[in-house]
Symmetry: C2
Subunit: 222 residues, 2 copies
Amino acid sequence: MNTKSEIYEQPGITVDLAIFTVNTNKLKVMLVKRAEDPFRENWSLPGGFLLHGESLQAAAYRVLREKTGVKNVYMEQLYTFGDPKRDPRSRVITVAYFALIPWKVLDQPESKKVTDLTWSSVDQLPKLAFDHKDILKYAVKRLRAKAGYSNIVYGLMPEQFRLSELQTMYEIIIDDKLDKRNFRKRMLATNLLQETGEKDITGAHRPAMLYQFKKMEIAFSN
Amino acid sequence: MNTKSEIYEQPGITVDLAIFTVNTNKLKVMLVKRAEDPFRENWSLPGGFLLHGESLQAAAYRVLREKTGVKNVYMEQLYTFGDPKRDPRSRVITVAYFALIPWKVLDQPESKKVTDLTWSSVDQLPKLAFDHKDILKYAVKRLRAKAGYSNIVYGLMPEQFRLSELQTMYEIIIDDKLDKRNFRKRMLATNLLQETGEKDITGAHRPAMLYQFKKMEIAFSN
DNA sequence: CCAAAAGTGTTATTGATACACCCATGC
DNA sequence: GCATGGGTGTATCAATAACACTTTTGG
């Protein structure tokens, strides 16, 4: 019999992340510019190789923290991409995750003059390395689908928010308009929101009641 | 800098399959008895190592064909399990798939006197190797969920069937009773079924019209 | 003629959708 | 006092759920 490594693959394992946020009324995803071959200078999803003894989820959280500085955000495993030719140099299998981050949580994202990291609108993507465009398409599809039947959108909201901001968030994700009264009725009926008692007086107009999510797990549905 | 293999995992990759069928009014899953350590003599999900140059899906289909002799059945990637300790000997990551097979398609399953393969009711599982019970739980959960909002159940039906058989199939999967008239109305309204023109006269009673699915892809939803 | 599964419609309930005006504030 | 976004209720429509009897066959 042959030795194990002759017949069986022992590929490199990476995790790649589709990290979404919403800013200036656009759904955006984090891209990083590759410093190394292959695809040097191309944009790609943030990712990294799995370390010894590290779980997949731990690796995903490590990459997330390295790139964004945040933890405790919504993240779920998306899909595993293992085409033999997806990395031109050697066999690499990637476990893709997608994560949601409220824009406000990202620390001064515009102030850092980084040129190797960007937030790109998902409808205006540059050429991406590897099969990352496929991964991203799949992630967007899943996000849009789940926005329709779960409360996943909560993962994009700041601590406190106006109902109109929540509605706008939904509209950006599902790329469609919603009726204000029906939206409010439905949201309040879920019983997942509570008034904070405070009002948002930043606008030049009638102050809006601020809401927050009741403290509980984000409901997964898979 | 250390060599790549010192810092990065290059684990073995397996695919494991939750292959479902329905027989004698029970949702059943294929289990195989392990011939080797670890977990020798324990039941486990059928699976195998990824071969050089093989895609994940190809590996899953290979295992499926080896164990059941069938291809062209419904199969989808489920989830990737990568806990560092899930295999007691070395790091192995498994990409789990789930598949659906109509019982009739399996060739004389009872006649073969195999003792290393069984179809176990999902509510009466033996102890399973590795983390296969977790995998299976997740697969059953997904199957039940998708039965509620997709036509995935079709994957368990034979070529021709009575509507009452289709209803029974749904009832077994979702583990609940359905109203006959509402069920028929709903099914016929989908426009995915067509009468074959033939009737099932095997019963001792009024013959039933036989139906088949219109030829088209099974609608994925993910 | 009896047992057993096949087949068939209507009503009630629920949930989703459509829709327009007054309110509170800053300037 | 006007411009701007905040906030509210009802009527219609669609989808789902509840519910019982007649029909066809074999034995």
